[in-house]
Amino acid sequence: MYAYYLQLGLRSLRRNPMLTALMMMAIGFGVAASMITYSVFRAVSDDPIPNKSSQLFAPQIDSWGPQQNEKGEPPGALNYVDAMALMRAHKASRQTLIYPVMLSALGRDADSVPSSASGYAVTGDFFPMFEVPFLYGSGWNTSEDDHRAADVVLTKEFNQRMFGGANSVGKEIVLGGNAYRIVGVAQHWNPAPRFYAVWGEDGFSESPDFYVLLNRMLDLHVDSSGRNSCRGNLAFTGWDQWLQSNCVWLMPWVELNTRSDAEQYRQFLTSYAADQQHAGRFGWPANIRLLDVMAFMTQQNVVPPESRISLIVALCFFVICLVNTIGLLLAKFMRRAGEIGVRRALGATRREIYTQYLLEAASVGIAGGVLGLLLTAVGMSGVSLLFDQEIAQLAHLDLSLVALTLLVSVLAAVAAAFYPAWRAAQVQPAWQLKSN
């Protein structure tokens, strides 16, 4: 019987093609706009490391004080002094420090043209902590950090560029004029957002080229190629004084596996900051944060405002389209009051009428969904109009989005039909028959 209703529905759609086309377009445009903007929003607000995001934390210490910090929030990165103190205390099961570096890379041929390579200075824990997958070799041990070794891990993309994709572990590479030993080649791994370096970056850049041993970079006085934010009087001259300054540029991460570990670490941070106050380094009470990955992403405003605004606008748009569909369905159903009267007189129950008209709406939903799917596919290519190339690439039409598009269309059409179908079911058969 349901199949028959659906068939009736489809036949009725053909009866006034103008009205049907209008409804299809309303649902199609509404759902397409929502899906396109949702696909971007989903991509930028996704959990970048789902199985560990609640165990990874970014410790923050207010080294700027209430008069110079960001509306009471500590800066999103650490200065050298605090960063090194946290590393030495080693209160977490794993811990790392990160800062972006830019080095030139020279090919193997003597006459090759140099190219720029961007990467991160990290410590050995970086690789197991973030579960970086390896193609060849592995990361370095934390003992290598202490030896301040010239170790480097290349990414698959950079290994392809420099070594044609061959196993380069054990080979040497010259970066920024210095030689490094390749200890590993990572698989393609570029979490979006790139949570571990999101402070001062938009978080959606292309994959980095390498990860290099942090202490080595510090020994070579290699500057951060990323953000560096300072407060107060900066009277430093030279690298060593600069390290002691109030400039924040190192991004710390710690791995804390249980809730109580996190609580203990929070206490450690508080007592560290309080100690600094006692020592006279900070002129204010302890102000620390220990946020996990998703909370840190929120604090650092990783989701671009364009993404949120366009999603909200698209959803409002969809609501208007649905209001429109309600009106059109009402017109369409009530036009057939006579027909409904006859069916009711011949014994159809209100429930049957209700079901029939809901199913007719569902068939509109399916048709609208198919149109919406086409529009979504077309619109995906327009995403780069609104967003940076890197973010636009993240939005794509996958199977789950196709299913969601169709589901939302049908549900929306059925929801829009609740009232019109109810009105149809309320038609008084006697009244209709009499007027005929």
Partner: protein, 411 residues
């Protein structure tokens, strides 16, 4: 035209009336805000940079060997000498950042050494004696830098900045009385004063975030060459009409100077027009998106009105016929439907105006959006009422053509 019978008839089809009214209200709310966002973005895009943007381009050179700051300093000097000798080049300068660049160095500006909160924020452009000439920015007071003033600087070595040039807008913020020239401010990071030796005409900063709108025209020019960052931006003004030639000559000349350098294949060399397009790409995108949304919304609302009114006309053919038989003219029928739509439209516009203000207030608190101006509400309301009248015209004309004989037909 009598309004009472129309209101009475409306009560007979409440649902449809409410739906149309509601749709008009929602559309007005969204379209007003969308148009307002478009207006704001367009205003941002069309603000002047102060730079004479034609015949200007940027080339960014990364250094392959970054180990010696002294070597890089010497190389930058040699590069600039070579660039000035090119026939297609009118002027050239080295900079750490430039207007519209988006990234760069900003410093908090203070009036006294012990001031904790900044007076304002400003771009720091590490410039030389050719910077103003290359950018095409005029000095409106004071003097330009002299060649001997220009020194080298690394980010780890904070020297004092005895002489600086500031933009007109920054001078006005710091010294509202207009006597900035010769005054001292604290612009450098160490606690030494800087004397304002020159004031430029309008000059935009590198800052492009909407958070930084208040500082968008604050710029401090410091006679320094930055070394140790691994790259340098050269801004080059080509001789009139020779932009293409200069953009071909410059990379060649630089590589002839030293081939151990890197030009990014994507954005290593950009005309200033490209710099501008990149800087405002999101604003254009947002404006286009809002434009499309508004257009489609208006179309869908119009279509909805046509659909529902057509249904009403169909439903009331007999009644129309009776009215016509009793002496109503075609015009009466036409104006009946037009008035009905106008009444619904006015109600929808009233609700929509409140809704639009509500949405705008929400956006003001959550995003960097200004208060909606009344003009937009007024224009939006008029547009929607006209749209409603336009949409209802076709069905209403059809209704007016219903013959009186319809009264006698039973179906």
């Amino acid at each position: 035209m009598q309004i009472k019978p129309i209101l009475a008839a409306m009560r007979r089809h409440k649902a449809g009336t409410i739906l149309i009214g509601f749709q008009i209200a929602l559309t007005l709310a969204i379209v007003c805000n969308a148009l307002f966002i478009i207006h704001e973005r367009i205003a941002r895009v069309s603000r002047p940079s102060g730079v004479n943007e034609s015949n200007l381009f940027v080339i960014t050179s990364d250094w392959a060997d970054n180990s010696s700051n002294d070597n890089i300093d010497a190389q930058i000097k040699a590069d600039l000498t070579a660039l000035h000798q090119l026939g297609s080049v009118q002027d050239a300068t080295s900079l750490n950042s430039f207007p519209l660049h988006g990234t760069g160095w900003d410093n908090f500006i203070r009036m006294t050494p012990d001031q904790i909160h900044m007076t304002t924020d400003a771009s720091v452009f590490l410039a030389d004696e050719h910077t103003l000439g290359t950018l095409g920015v005029k000095l409106i007071a004071g003097r330009n830098f002299t060649p001997d003033e220009v020194q080298s600087l690394t980010i780890q070595d904070m020297k004092g900045w005895p002489a600086i040039i500031v933009s007109k807008d920054l001078a006005k913020v710091l010294f509202p009385n207009g006597d900035a020239l010769g005054k001292q401010i604290y612009a450098s990071n160490n606690n030494t004063p800087s004397t304002i030796v020159g004031i430029t005409d309008t000059l935009q900063s590198h800052m492009m975030d909407s958070d930084d709108n208040a500082f968008a025209y604050n710029a401090v020019l410091v006679p320094m060459r930055e070394v140790g960052t691994g790259y340098v931006h050269y801004l080059i003004r080509a001789r009139p009409g020779q932009l293409e030639a200069a953009m071909r000559d410059v990379p060649k000349a630089l590589i002839a100077q030293n081939r151990m350098r890197i030009f990014d294949p994507d954005d290593g060399e950009m005309t200033f027009a490209q710099v501008r397009a990149k800087a405002y790409e999101r604003d254009y995108g947002m404006a286009i998106l809002m434009g499309i949304v508004s257009a489609v919304l208006l179309a869908i609302t119009a279509a909805g009105i046509v659909g529902l009114t057509s249904f009403w006309v169909g439903q009331r053919r007999r009644q129309i016929g009776i009215r016509r038989a009793l002496g109503a003219t075609r015009n009466d029928i036409l104006s009946y439907f037009m008035t009905e739509n106008m009444l619904i439209g006015v109600a929808g516009v009233v609700v929509g105006t409140l809704l639009a203000i509500g949405i705008n207030l929400w956006m003001v608190t959550h995003y960097d959006v200004a208060r909606l101006s009344g003009t937009y509400l007024l224009v939006g309301a008029v547009v929607l009422l006209l749209l409603g009248q336009g949409a209802v015209l076709a069905p209403a004309l059809r209704a007016s053509r219903v013959p009186p004989v319809e009264a006698t037909r039973s179906v």
